[in-house]
Symmetry: C2
Subunit: 385 residues, 2 copies
């Protein structure tokens, strides 16, 4: 193995180190079981999960080769990596350019014939380039997606604590919004309210928003992933899909409330009740051993039975953790059996174009005989006067 | 061609439409010239550039097949797409699942043997799946990266106006920060100041930050991509790398200022002068016909001549537009000849671990005989008292 590069083994000793090390042990067991001697990991969240080093879009590489682990980071991330990588014996290597070439040179030193890479986290162009480089070193490159994501699907104690904290911050933010009056709310634009909600979440200890908030007033609420605009909030529907990040972990919550008097409030009230019922029923069904397809079906069939089947065009929910959307998908498409300590959203909605929509979303931790709702924010039909 | 899906041709008529249509005409000429009868485009910014529809991470697909154009969007983006797509004759198709299957079914209706895809914007796993599907329809899939990015590298009139506006907003934000006193600045944490700067940029008309701000106090400033922390700002170095988004276009600026009295201010002042000189010299060299490698070399050699060559570990700059980092890279690695109306950053820096760093960054529009600096913010050595 060439040793021409600067690398660094950082001495660390605290409890967090053990948590990260135990994840690495689990991954190594998995790799042994699957007969994978070399694995290249590229997704930021996966690298953080195993090392403690997080930098969005840093383009870093974590490589497992036999019993050794390398973290390749660009010059501009080297100092951060040295300060944040927790498990001992991860070799931190600085590169200035051509990271895949550097990786190939490292792997050349090992008697491994086949290297796997996260095929869903590498572009076709990069995969092809790396394959050619490794071939020159006598190695074959294949795709093995989802290995670390599968480990991350069940959350450990530290992860759950971070997620709970993120959710409790979002609860506080919602409660403050719900407790204001309509004049105050209407003094904001959609973008302004989104920003105010993020500001509050930072005040309560988060590092910011976990995604671009959907703050949708009136007919805009029929667009599930609407982007808040610079227009003043008026009487009517106010759908707020928001969340924050605490220690790299995300919260995700939607509440739909109503401001003052408005046209069609009767119809909206009926729709609200259907969505609310659909959500409660699905949550009641959540427990270890239940299937995601069945849970989706409970909410979907209820909404269909009320005549709004065509107005609920997305899946019921998704996993949340280091990423705002992660496994498992809770949908009619996927049949995954829930396990204890998975964290998922349950978020049915009814959307009517040019009229409006309602969505209600909670996050739950799956337990042996049920689930724990991570939010206390009211789901009653709320009119802000 | 199967016509079993819902699709929509939206009638629009205003001047913006012509701008987007002229980009499509250019792309079509390019495709004809390169003998590409079918192209699949996946990057959000590329799709916006050609259609007017923007939704971050929406997973949409824009497909050119012979003379026809399809935009495939998930159910949750359909309403937004209908309202924002500007060129006539783009068929907007709604899917609920299996977008690549739907794409294959559309392409099956055309007598095209080879389909190209943006190979740098599709994962290896997705490329492989699409290749198999298209093979069943008798078609071959190949990778053709960078076609739309190459069109985007030279900005048109509307793009330049949006970029100028974004930069003028960032100028205003900096001027307000520079005009405050040190007590006020020190009342913020790094995260708090980042947030306050974003708030100001929204107040002045932007839709928010163009990336996670680097607000780095004292020794943290030696980390080029440092992430702001929840710690109070103190006397010393304050490096601020920030920017905003206006009509989807980004600004990017760095200023390093100094707060009150602090240790080592003499050494920092010398370093500041070197970075400032390096930046001015590079900017003076920017004009149509100059090479990016030469421009990088001017700043790099100057910094090397002062003994800090090892402390400038990143490229000199990058293109900015719909993306915060886009072509061309201004670096010792790439030799690209600048053209009129390219927009690039010039941002040399000197970073000393556990001590601190200085970076100064401007954005410039390349002109025939020079360049236009998009910022007016002072670059004098500034001490906030």
């Amino acid at each position: 193995m060439s040793t021409g590069w600067l690398y660094f083994i950082y001495p660390k000793s605290n409890n967090m180190e053990k948590h990260f090390e135990s994840r690495i042990i689990k991954l190594k067991q998995d790799l042994e079981c699957k007969n994978i001697p070399g694995l290249v990991i590229l997704k930021d969240a996966n690298i953080y999960y195993l090392t403690g080093f997080y930098s969005k879009d840093s383009g870093s590489i974590l490589a497992f080769a036999s019993d050794e682990i390398y973290l390749l980071v660009h010059y501009i991330y080297f100092e951060t990596a040295k300060k944040s990588v927790l498990p001992k014996n991860i070799k931190i290597i600085k590169y200035y350019q051509e990271k895949y070439k550097k990786l190939s040179e490292i792997l050349e030193g090992y008697k491994i014939k086949n290297i796997d890479v996260e095929g869903d986290n590498i572009s076709f162009v990069d995969f092809s380039a790396l394959k050619v480089m490794l071939a020159k070193a006598g190695k074959n490159l294949t795709s093995e997606p989802g290995i670390v994501e599968n480990l991350r699907i069940v959350k450990d104690e530290i992860e759950l604590a971070n997620i709970e904290k993120a959710c409790s911050i979002s609860d506080k933010v919602f409660n403050q919004i719900a407790a204001t009056n309509s004049l105050k709310i209407k003094s904001f634009s959609e973008i302004g309210l989104a920003f105010e909600m993020e500001r509050k979440s930072i005040k309560y200890g988060s590092s910011g928003k976990s995604f671009n908030y959907v703050i949708a007033n009136n007919s805009a609420s029929s667009i599930p992933h609407y982007e808040a605009e610079n227009k003043n909030i008026k009487n009517g529907i106010l759908l707020m899909d928001f969340g924050c990040i605490y220690n790299h972990y995300c919260s995700d919550i939607t509440r739909t409330v109503f401001i003052g008097n408005f046209k069609n409030s009767n119809k909206i009230c009926q729709i609200y009740d259907i969505v609310s019922q659909a959500q409660s029923r699905a949550i009641q069904f959540c427990k270890a051993g239940a299937s995601t397809q069945e849970i989706d079906g409970i909410a979907r069939k209820y909404i269909e039975s009320k005549g709004y089947g065509d107005n609920f065009g997305h899946g019921l929910g998704h996993g949340v953790g280091l990423e705002i959307h992660e496994s498992p998908r809770v949908s009619y498409r996927d049949d995954i059996i829930l396990k204890e300590n998975m964290v998922i959203t349950i978020e049915p909605g009814i959307y009517i174009e040019n009229f409006g929509g309602v969505r209600i979303e909670d996050m739950v931790i799956i337990k042996k005989n049920g689930c724990q709702n991570l939010y206390k924010s009211s789901k009653l039909y709320t009119v802000i006067k």
